[in-house]
């Protein structure tokens, strides 16, 4: 691989902050501290520890991690805004860093003036901006307001204009910090198309985002930071699942985070396999009897209830004979519900909603048409095989009343479950999104 194929090379990058210095803000401290040399490690924060990775031309990298993991510090160093304490960064080509959109925008200036101002601040020449000006305005879609001061803009218009400047810029490496979530659905679609076109033109992108769907849809690679160290580098599907798992069970994740230099992948995968035990152990012990994937509530315990019914068992499982009771995506998924009905309303049903780990609803179903009358019910819902992808999901159980209102249960948290494949192969990494239906391909003659 020739050197010019690598657009960015980060070697053993570390950054340490001493918060003591930041406290020293008044002149009094200035005089006092000139006499006292402070060498203690008090207030020492290792924002980045020994971070190394490489990015090739045309590749895109998403950086994820909990707040304070060092994501923004890394981006700031890459963009030259701050310096590392040790280590080295080599960038081949022009960098454009967008740590915030609309940097230097002034509310009293018109949209047109701000386009030029912002563009020039970001390092474009006047000529370049003039060439791109029409494209920028066209992209922002606020043509008729371009000569008004931006303080008269709605916040959506403001962001759209600022974002339009950024996406029209020309650079070999683009750095974005949490700036993608702007505008309405139509504008976001436009941005997605724009971003995809960047990749085909061999531009590289680094994206810091909390929005996992951004990472998955824009990035081929992802890097997870934990306490300043790289804890995962690999396909975004796996990384985002890990990230969400850790944030869903944040108490657990602390213990994982503290292993400073985990081997990429292996450390993470281990936690994923044990996820269910983790999830169950987080449920308050006094409330539920935990048996594998089955949650039961005894008669004396606080059962999940609403006005219409109460539950005494929820179970999520697939083929019970599968190894280690894993839920395999190639098997049917069963959700078994047992409980009691309190009212005598005729049209009452119980249902569930499946969401991905970030909470985005995927689909739902209810026992519409089934008679739940009588005091107890015992139902099993079966989701066809090959519906979900490999990953972490949550299921919420709720009641649907006679006027099709969803009524949730008190004392019932979303139940997390993880899906697996029988034997993981390389191809599994290329299935994106939360769904993985079995698609058939045929050759036409």
């Amino acid at each position: 691989m020739s050197d010019s194929d690598v657009v960015l090379k980060v070697e053993n990058l570390s950054k340490t902050y001493f918060s003591k210095l930041q406290l020293q803000k008044s002149a009094k401290d200035f005089f006092v501290s000139s006499f006292q040399k402070t060498n203690s490690d008090e207030g020492r924060v290792d924002a980045l520890r020994d971070v190394s990775f490489e990015l090739k031309r045309g590749e895109s990298l998403g950086i994820i991690g909990p707040n304070g993991a060092g994501k923004s510090t890394l981006l700031k160093i890459l963009s030259g805004v701050t310096y590392p304490t040790s280590g080295k960064v080599t960038i081949n080509g022009r960098v454009l860093s967008v740590l915030d959109i609309g940097t230097g925008f002034h509310p009293d200036l018109t949209g047109r003036e701000n386009v030029f101002l912002n563009g020039e601040i970001l390092g474009m020449s006047r000529k370049e901006i003039e060439e791109k000006y029409d494209e920028i305005v066209e992209f922002s879609g606020i043509h008729e307001f371009i000569d008004r001061p931006v303080k008269q803009y709605s916040s959506g218009m403001y962001l759209r204009l600022a974002f339009s400047i950024v996406v029209s810029l020309d650079a070999d490496l683009l750095l974005f910090d949490e700036v993608l979530a702007v505008g309405d659905a139509e504008f976001r679609n436009k941005c997605q198309r724009k971003f995809r076109s960047l990749f085909t033109s061999q531009k590289s992108l680094i994206l810091v985002s909390h929005n996992m769907s951004d990472i998955v849809s824009y990035c081929r690679l992802s890097l997870k930071l934990n306490n300043g160290a790289v804890s995962f580098l690999g396909p975004p599907q796996t990384a985002t699942t890990l990230h969400l798992e850790n944030s869903a069970f944040s108490q657990k994740s602390d213990s994982i985070d503290k292993s400073t230099h985990p081997e990429p992948q292996s450390a993470g995968i281990k936690t994923m396999d044990n996820y269910l035990v983790d999830a169950m152990s987080l449920l308050p012990k006094d409330r539920s009897v935990v048996q594998n994937r089955i949650i039961c509530w005894g008669p004396d315990e606080t059962r999940p209830r609403n006005k219409q019914m109460e539950l005494n068992m929820v179970s999520v499982f697939s083929n019970p004979s599968s190894p280690e009771d894993n839920i395999l995506i190639t098997d049917q998924l069963h959700i078994e519900l047992k409980g009691k009905v309190h009212t005598s309303t005729n049209q009452l049903s119980i249902g569930f909603q499946i969401m991905d780990a970030s909470g985005m609803p995927l689909f739902n179903s209810a026992s519409i048409g089934l008679q739940l009358q009588g005091s107890t019910f015992n139902l099993t819902a079966t989701v066809p095989a090959n519906t979900l992808n490999v990953g972490l999901y949550q299921v919420i159980i709720a009641t649907l009343n006679d006027v099709n209102q969803i009524i949730y249960f008190d004392n019932l948290e979303p139940i997390y479950f993880r899906t697996h494949v029988n034997s993981e192969s390389a191809i599994d990494k290329y299935f994106i999104g939360p769904m993985r239906p079995a698609i058939t391909w045929t050759v036409n003659h």
């Binding site: 008044s26 080599t90 915030d100 940097t103 002034h106």
Partner: protein, 271 residues
């Protein structure tokens, strides 16, 4: 293909100067932004830059010339006081806006990679607009009083540059110190409101006792104003020893630059 290497080692003096030169477009852009913001959304717009010195002339003339009877020699008082106003306004603009330039631009500092010296420099540049407008006003006023400018007017740029250097030296200190110790934020108004009394803006140095007059020129702005008067209207040519005031300015500039540079390395963690 441009190649950038980022390490913990920071650029040396000459690299830094080279970097500032590479960013000259940004200096111009920020100066332009500053000017636009100053006059946008005002009914009178750029007219203010003419009105401000005119109002100052009127007040000084009434107060010092008519009421206190300050003598300006053969030169009509308004013509005498305007060069003082030009020099003083330029200087105070630079220390005021330049001194606050780091504190006022946290978004740029946190998000854009550029040599921070660009910020006070852009204020020096944006201040030149008012200087030019006021100089134009001066020429009109001279014509009204029947004064023909002499060839000495060619020296005006020299004194304007010296003034900028003096202002920049102080604003380097103020801007860097303000970032670390907000206390200095309160120093700037005092510098401006008391500084005018030790600067011959509205009085000639001749009203001072001889023993005090020479010390007056330790104030670099006093040299600049005396120089501007000499260039534009009749006045005493500044003697070579008057420029002695620029020795402390050079020292302030060199040390201020070093301090500014050292603050710049950690500035992102402070703003």
């Amino acid at each position: 293909m441009k190649k950038t290497v980022i390490t913990s080692e920071q650029s040396g003096f000459f690299d830094y100067v080279k970097r500032v030169w590479q960013y000259r477009a940004l200096i111009r852009v920020l100066a332009k932004r500053d000017i636009k913001i100053r006059y946008s959304q005002t009914a009178l717009g750029i007219l203010w830059s003419v009105l401000q010195p005119l109002i100052a002339i009127a007040i000084y003339t009434v107060f010092f010339y008519y009421i206190l009877g300050v003598s300006s020699g053969k030169v009509p008082y308004p013509l005498f006081v305007l060069p003082g106003i030009i020099g003083w306004f330029q200087f105070t603009h630079i220390i005021n806006a330049g001194g606050m330039s780091l504190l006022n631009n946290p978004d740029l500092i946190r998000r854009i990679d550029f040599p921070k010296l660009v910020l006070p420099l852009s204020q020096v540049l944006s201040g030149l607009l008012e200087v030019l407008i006021t100089l134009g006003l001066m020429l009109i006023l001279m014509a009204a009083y029947g004064y023909t400018p002499s060839l000495r007017i060619a020296f005006v740029p020299l004194f304007i540059m010296l003034n900028a250097l003096a202002g920049l030296s102080i604003s380097l200190w103020l801007s860097a110190l303000t970032i670390k110790y907000r206390d200095f934020h309160h120093v700037i108004p005092y510098l401006i409101s008391f500084g005018i009394w030790i600067t011959p803006v509205f009085y000639p140095t001749t009203i001072l006792p001889d023993s005090a007059e020479q010390y007056m020129f330790l104030n670099p702005v006093a040299v600049v104003i005396a120089g501007l008067r000499w260039c534009l209207v009749e006045g005493v040519a500044p003697a070579w020893y008057h420029f002695a005031g620029f020795i402390p300015v050079m020292a302030l500039f060199a040390l201020g630059y070093r301090y500014f540079y050292s603050v710049e390395q950690t500035i992102v963690d402070h703003v």
